[in-house]
Amino acid sequence: MIPPFDYIIPETLEEACNILWEAGKGVGVIAGGTDLVIGLRNGDHSPRLLIDITRIPELRKIEEQDGRILIGAAVTHSEIVSSPLLKKYGKILSDAASVIGSPQIRNLGTIGGNIVNASPAADSLPPLMVLNAVGKIVSREGAREAPLDQLFKGPYETNLKPHEILVHIGFEKLSSVMRSSFIRLARREAMAIARMSMAVVLRIERSSNLIKDIRISPGAVMPRPQRMPEVEDFLKGKSPDEAILKTASQKVSGVMVLTSGVRSSTPYKAPVVEALFLRAMRSCLEDRG
């Protein structure tokens, strides 16, 4: 049973910020509600007021601005999947969005919601991490930019203040020399939370065949979305041959265990995270043609 609450649908960002500022405690922000409503039903939270941000124009757009792609926080996963702009400049994100939940969830759930819910298994977060995404956050106090990797504190925890709203998430267009791959493993083919996932962005210098840029972010294996700088640094400047990749994959599982500790799931996850990393890398390398 969901306890009663008030519901406001502001039409502008300013209005939303004002309501949030004045309302104080016990206020929630709702977009698609695919996570929030479950929490309401379970009694995890019982706000007295919910602010629906899905009618605010700035939050509903996907646009290109100064070589960057900006995605409004209330853009749905389905809209991401069908965006030609994202297919061209951020395919790794549309790939991930296309396997979230089911059509119903993708039609309702939003990218902003996926970010602020901060689930360790969220499908859009590893791709955003390797895209070096930066969030724009506003409140009545003003606006701030927050690189995604600084936004997460732990499982289901961000450092967003109660009166702040995530407006959009932006990233530099992925140039045509960059390769990317998102691999996802779940217990069944649809409507399943990811058991594990892996996002990789890779640039190989053609002349030298050396790794110039590498970004790695696994999903559902660590408490919060993270990159793996130790492995990235190891790979940079090296030739992506099988022996190097194999060593790198062991470093990936090593970082995972170091970050998450040894758990009952580690005997399964350690070899599988290595396999997913290798598959993502091979997929990028094949893609290079």
């Binding site: 049973m1 493993l185 217990r187 069944r188 083919e189 649809a190 409507m191 399943a192 939370i193 058991r195 799931s265 005997p267 399964y268 070899p271 599988v272 396999a275 997913l276 598959r279």
Partner: protein, 751 residues
């Protein structure tokens, strides 16, 4: 008239279902019903010290809070052993046990009040493993002891058989709890009808059983209780036990006002029955030429907090332990034990799916060790017409197992299975078979059905039948049988079903029994109706009864081709209702209590599945690409419906094999209980083997449970074929498959 039997007519309930017009439990209209909410135990084993409800009663809209003290009759229900309270009085035995029942004007008030009922518990030691529960001097879950039931099947001399074996293989198999995952959470209404009867309308698989339990709980006579089945989105055995019936009836009994209850899905997961986890130690002996000579099996089952169908599963798993094979020396010991886990009950197959996982794994292990093709090995040992089963029953006819094996073999031999995928070196492909047999109807006990057919002077033709159609299609199939038997078009027959005030006992929609048993009861009723029609037609045609016969809906004269009278005309002209009452009880014998010998079923269904899988050896992910499902169902009354059952059975079998696992106290909802989606289910190629069953209606047997049983064994054998190592513990989830792959690799590198 067009033949009805064997025709793929539209299902009679199909249109209203696809139009969304059908009313399931939660949709049922009631006049300002009070809403009910159950207060449940958060403890797996505890004494109830006291229940405080003052605060709950102060919540506006709350009418009443019921406890065990309010139950006027017997506060224990159960299909075989009555040990399960409607509301616990002194003690709770699992997480979810009902303790109190709130009735309020709104569901919000009922829920708020349920949260305010304070139950003070004193913890008791909880037992979570059958082995632990069997230890001497341990805590008792029920006063009579923790061993609910024990059953043996003994034939020949198993020690001698094992001594004479060229090869013996012994392994232990483990299965887990599975939820039925029927379509809609349990919901229903109750009220006093025009005759002041306590009337319950709800989803169920057996209205007449529900009626007996409700009457017993309320201390009423049967005619003071009426149960009506509403549209039911599947049951799979989960709706054979009492769910909401007695709670609804208890509230109406006291309040005399309409009431309604709607379970949440979370509640269904927590409080309804589950498939029994079985631990199966299986030892098989075989001669050098591949002839099976002995099996020795030890089964230990977890019935959880209450008996439910525990004894049935205990017996049925023992009786079916050999699989569909001829084995001269058999010793099976099957035990069912109480624990403080979720209670286990009936689920599609009553223990046989678990046993098939074990005996089919053994068959492949033996075939591999003897270097015989697994299908050839099964063909060599399978039952035939004239074979004697492990319980000493000689099967004279309709033993179609050999034919299902041959059909599957044809398919396998034609297919070109590549074991590798050049683009994905981590993929290994495999092919596996699984076979089963399944006795139709209850095991070694009477399980009759009754039916009435009548034609009134207005020409209306009615079939009265107590059978609950839970989506499996009995309304359609039984009408086909009635139409064919009467020679009257199906559309002109009205079915009145599953209402205790209007129909008589047909037994449960379970054990794949309704087509066979109720189909025969209907044909019996039709025979009486025909005699009645002939008797009434005599004076109308000025002829002697003995010169008349019934054919194609008409009473005809033997001597004059032109003299005939449609049966409805007989009713109209005579002004009488032409009626027939029928019954059928399959011919079985009681099983000997020491040796399990006897003829427990009148007929058996047989099946073989072939599964083609691919295993991702780096992640443990299994994909089932294709299942060939060959079934001996006797005569298929409605082939499309049979194929529907088979396809659904494959989906459910795949879930059992690969992903479904209920954890008592852990699993909460479909978020952490995964069943296959349409994207997971493989291509299914059904093959119908129609071995005529002389005692069946138009030769029919049954298919409901057989559809599921061979699927998981076939998938597990296919996984073994792919990775070269066997999994003995269901489900074969990501972790178990990967662990097994790695074990194989480690083993290889040791050599």
């Amino acid at each position: 008239m067009r033949r009805q039997v064997g025709a793929n007519i539209p299902k009679v309930d199909g249109l209203e279902k696809v139009l969304g017009e059908v009313r399931y439990g939660a949709d049922l209209p009631a006049k300002e019903p009070l809403c009910l909410k159950v207060v449940r135990s958060p403890k797996s084993h505890a004494k109830i010290v006291r229940i405080e409800m003052d605060e709950a009663l102060r919540i506006p809209g709350v009418e009443r809070v019921f406890t065990a003290k309010d139950i006027p009759g017997k506060n224990l229900v159960g299909t075989i052993t009555k040990d399960q309270p409607i509301l616990c009085s002194d003690r709770v035995r699992y997480i979810g046990d009902p303790v109190a029942l709130v009735a309020a004007k709104t569901s919000e008030a009922a829920e708020a009040a349920a949260n305010k009922v304070v139950v003070v518990y004193e913890d008791l030691p909880a037992l979570n493993h059958p082995e632990e529960a069997l230890k001497l001097n341990g805590p008792l879950i029920h006063d009579k002891g923790n061993l609910l039931f024990e059953f043996h099947v003994i034939k020949g001399d198993v020690q001698k058989g094992l001594r004479e074996s060229h090869l013996i293989i012994e392994k232990t198999y483990q299965t887990t709890w599975v939820d039925h995952a029927y379509l809609e959470p349990d919901a229903g209404i109750s009220f006093l009808d025009e005759k002041e009867r306590v009337t319950v309308v709800c989803p169920t698989q057996n209205v007449h059983y529900d009626q007996k339990e409700v009457a017993s709980v309320l201390g009423l006579s049967l005619d003071q209780v009426r149960i009506i089945q509403c549209a039911t989105g599947g049951g799979f055995g989960g709706r054979l036990d009492i769910t909401i019936q007695c709670l609804l009836a208890l509230a109406v009994f006291h309040l005399k006002k309409p009431v309604k209850i709607v379970y949440s899905r979370e509640e269904v997961f927590q409080v309804t029955s589950k498939r029994h986890p079985l631990t199966i130690r299986y030892k098989s002996g075989v001669k050098e030429d591949g002839t099976l000579i002995a099996v020795e099996v030890e089964i230990l089952g977890d019935t959880g907090a209450y008996a439910s169908y525990g004894p049935t599963v205990c017996i049925r798993s023992a009786v079916h332990a050999t699989g569909p094979y001829l084995i001269p020396n058999v010793k099976v010991r099957s035990r069912m034990v109480y624990t403080n886990n979720s209670w286990s009950g009936a689920m599609r197959g009553f223990g046989v799916p678990q046993m098939a996982f074990a005996h089919e794994s053994q068959m492949d292990l033996l075939a591999q060790a003897l270097k015989i093709d697994p299908l050839e090995f099964r063909l060599k040992n399978c039952l035939r017409n004239g074979s004697e089963t492990a319980t000493g029953q000689t099967l004279m006819t309709s033993v179609g197992i050999g034919e299902t094996l041959r059909k599957v073999k044809e398919c396998r031999d034609k297919a070109n299975h590549s074991r590798e995928d050049p683009k994905r070196p981590f993929i290994k492909r495999g092919v596996g078979v699984g076979s089963m047999w399944y006795g139709i109807g209850n095991t070694g006990i009477a399980n009759p059905s009754t039916a009435q057919m009548e034609i009134d002077p207005n020409g209306e033709v009615r079939l009265y039948i107590g059978v609950a159609d839970i989506g499996q299609g009995s309304d359609t199939v039984l009408l086909q049988i009635a139409s064919e038997g009467l020679g009257i078009p199906l559309k002109e027959i009205r079915v009145i079903r599953a209402d205790t005030a209007l129909t008589t006992d047909a037994g449960a929609t379970s054990a794949s029994r309704q087509t066979y048993i109720s189909g025969n009861a209907i044909l019996d009723a039709i025979n009486y109706l025909k005699q009645e029609a002939i008797k009434e037609a005599g004076p109308l045609l000025n002829m002697d009864e003995k010169d008349l016969f019934y054919e194609e809906g008409k009473v005809k004269a033997r001597t004059c081709l032109t003299t005939s009278l449609p049966v409805r005309e007989v009713a109209r002209r005579s002004g009488k209702v032409i009626k027939g009452e029928g019954s059928f009880d399959p011919e079985t014998t009681r099983l000997d209590s020491k040796t399990g010998q006897g003829a427990p079923y009148a007929t058996y269904a047989f099946a073989t599945h072939l599964a083609e899988v691919e295993v991702d050896t780096e992640t443990g992910k299994v994909r089932v690409n294709r299942v060939v499902a060959s079934h001996d169902v006797g005569r298929a009354i409605h082939p499309k419906n049979v194929i529907g059952q088979i396809t659904g059975g494959v989906a459910m079998g795949m879930g059992f094999a690969l992903m479904e696992e209920y954890v008592p106290g852990g699993t909460t909802s479909f978020v952490n209980y995964l069943i296959p989606t349409s994207k997971d289910v493989p291509e299914v190629i059904p093959i119908l083997v129609e071995e005529n069953e002389p005692s069946g209606p138009f030769g029919a047997k049954g298919v409901g449970e057989p559809a599921l049983i061979p699927c998981a064994p076939a998938i597990l054998n296919a996984i073994t074929d792919a990775i070269g190592e066997r999994i003995y513990h269901l489900p074969a989830n990501l972790e178990r498959v990967l662990e097994t792959v790695r074990k194989k690799k480690a083993g290889n590198s040791n050599h």
